[in-house]
């Protein structure tokens, strides 16, 4: 298997006022190109920490993190992040927010017209061409998250990192965006790492589900291969025994093996 992103014996300690706190320990994970991997676990298990290490926003205190053959030394546009709370800049329009990323990544090599075209295309891809001149406070939460996804994808990242991207949305909007994400990822062939606490979301979207044990000193408990054919359809899957088997495995891990903590 090609190791596109690799974490080897990664550990993360934070220095707090009460001494050192070990959040992660011995995390070993390899992700192949064009793979969709979900990280799932109870809250506080360090799944976002793993994502932030891949993003380069955090540097691991132990072990080594590698992306496309190089040690991760910091964040960069090759590993785009869709943040949990969208993180759009409120003083820029949807167009402005996406354009900021386009300008940074392609500004030196391409003409202004081409940059504008890329921005428009990214907005069209998430179905927001009509909202291009709106500010983030004028659009719904689902639309904001779609702008966030457009901003990440427009950079043509090697790895797309999603930190509970649909966590703050209602169930219907969430389902729509999941379907949209399935289509976009199929079209762009992105490598994706997604943090989630939603079992259905993980099974529906992922090739592999990485289940994490509870913290402190959390690590990878089990990895489940989701061998469901693509394209996946949420209605057809609802009556698919293989889908339910996957679901049952993840639920079993979360609530039997590591069920001692209340679910957030």
């Amino acid at each position: 298997m090609e190791r596109y992103v690799e974490l080897d014996q990664v550990g993360m300690r934070f220095d707090t006022s009460k001494g050192s706190f070990t959040a992660l320990q011995d995390v070993k994970l390899a992700i192949a190109r064009q793979e969709f991997v979900s990280l799932i676990g109870h809250s506080g298990c360090g799944k976002s920490t793993v994502l932030n290490i891949i993003a380069g926003l955090l540097l691991p205190t132990d072990g080594i993190a590698i992306a496309h053959g190089r040690e991760i030394a910091g964040p960069g546009p090759d590993r785009a992040v869709v943040f949990q709370n969208h993180s759009l800049l409120p003083w820029l329009t949807c167009y402005g927010n996406v354009h900021l990323a386009v300008e940074r990544v392609f500004g030196k090599s391409e003409s202004k017209a081409k940059l504008a075209e890329r921005t428009e295309q990214a907005l069209a891809m998430v179905g927001l061409s009509h909202a291009r001149d709106k500010h983030p406070n004028e659009i719904s939460g689902g639309m904001k998250q779609r702008v966030g996804i457009a901003r990440a994808l427009v950079m043509e990242p090697k790895v797309l990192l999603l930190d509970e991207p649909f966590g703050a949305l209602d169930a219907l909007t969430r389902a729509n965006l999941q379907d949209e994400l399935i289509r976009i990822v199929a079209r762009t062939g992105s490598t994706v790492v997604m943090v989630t606490h939603d079992v259905d979301e993980a099974v529906l979207l992922s090739d592999r589900i990485v289940m994490m044990s509870n913290g402190p000193a959390a690590t990878i408990g089990e990895i489940l291969d989701v061998n469901l054919p693509r394209p996946r359809d949420r209605l057809a899957l609802a009556s698919d025994p293989a889908y339910h088997a996957c679901r049952a495995q993840v639920l079993g891990f979360l609530y039997q093996k590591y069920g001692q903590r209340a679910v957030a």
Partner: protein, 293 residues
């Protein structure tokens, strides 16, 4: 079909019966009831307040046995005064318009200098913890000092009245600008800075695209506090330094025992202060982009 009809029938019946047991007004009154209600809520309390204030004033004026002029006398005097606001009879006798403009000019210069110094300083103090710790003792010591205490220092250094009063405005309005800008910089959400890190924006881009717009609302709060203080202080400073200006004018009219003019000055100071404040509130709204101000 019958089901639909019965629902429609029920709705019609409900409409015929008023839901709330209000008094039923004749149709034309019903149409204007709402706007009249809004008018009553919005306009009546302030008008009532002003009326009570005037009443109190009249009572006080009558009680003072003629030493405090009432609203009517003040109004007549004001009409005379504002008929020719821009006359000039030598350095100590100029129109009310000149006095207001001179005061505003001093506030503008002192305040502008305070912005030029205070805002960049606030950015530095907010961005670098070392500078914040370094400046904290000095700022906490100097900030509570009454602005007028700085006037002798200004007179000593500048040897002239005008720069000294500008200096007082500067020193009194620089603190809110420094502190609020610094607080704004410290409160920039980490999320925005993470976006900058993922995009690897240049320092200049981080400043113009993220820091400056994120800090703007709290910076403008500082500016608003500062202009309030500056306008408070200018009247007092001018009383002490003389020249042309509202403060000097108040003191001059006190020496002339023209109490009507003193009252007019109080209103002019109040109204100009109110307008400055409103201007900045409006600016702050424009700059907030739906964030909390």
């Amino acid at each position: 079909m019958t089901a639909v009809k019965s629902i429609a029938g029920a709705a019609a019946a409900a409409e015929a019966r008023p839901l709330r047991r209000n008094r039923v007004w004749p149709a034309p009154f019903e149409a204007i009831r709402r706007p009249v209600g809004t008018l009553l809520r919005v306009a009546v309390p302030p008008l009532l307040g002003i009326l009570l204030f005037l009443l109190l004033w009249v009572l006080l004026a009558q009680g003072s046995g003629g030493s405090l002029p009432g609203p009517a006398a003040t109004w007549l005097s004001a009409r005379e005064l504002f008929a020719d606001p821009f006359y000039r009879n030598g350095p100590n006798d100029q129109g009310i318009g000149w006095n207001v403009l001179m005061s505003l000019g001093r506030v503008g210069v002192g305040f502008g200098l305070a912005a030029v110094v205070g805002i960049p300083l606030g950015f530095l103090i907010g961005r670098f913890d070392f500078l914040a710790r370094m400046s904290a003792p000095v700022i906490s010591l100097l900030r509570p000092v009454s602005p007028l205490a700085w006037l002798p220092i200004g007179l000593l250094v500048f040897k002239a009245a005008d720069p000294a009063s500008i200096w007082v405005i500067f020193i009194s309005s620089v603190w809110p600008m420094i502190l609020n800008t610094a607080a704004g910089v410290r409160a920039v959400p980490q999320d925005y800075l993470n976006v900058a890190r993922v995009l690897r924006l240049s320092e200049w881009k981080v400043f113009t695209v993220i820091l400056l717009p994120a800090v703007l609302p709290s910076m403008l709060i500082g500016v608003r506090l500062a202009i309030g203080v500056a306008w408070l202080v200018i009247v007092a400073a001018e009383m002490l330094t003389g020249g042309v200006g509202l403060g000097f004018w108040v003191w001059d009219e006190w020496n002339n025992l023209n109490v009507e003019h003193i009252l007019i000055a109080i209103f002019v100071v109040g109204i100009v202060g109110l307008l400055l404040e409103q201007l900045l509130v409006w600016l702050a709204k424009k700059a907030s982009f739906g964030q909390e101000v």
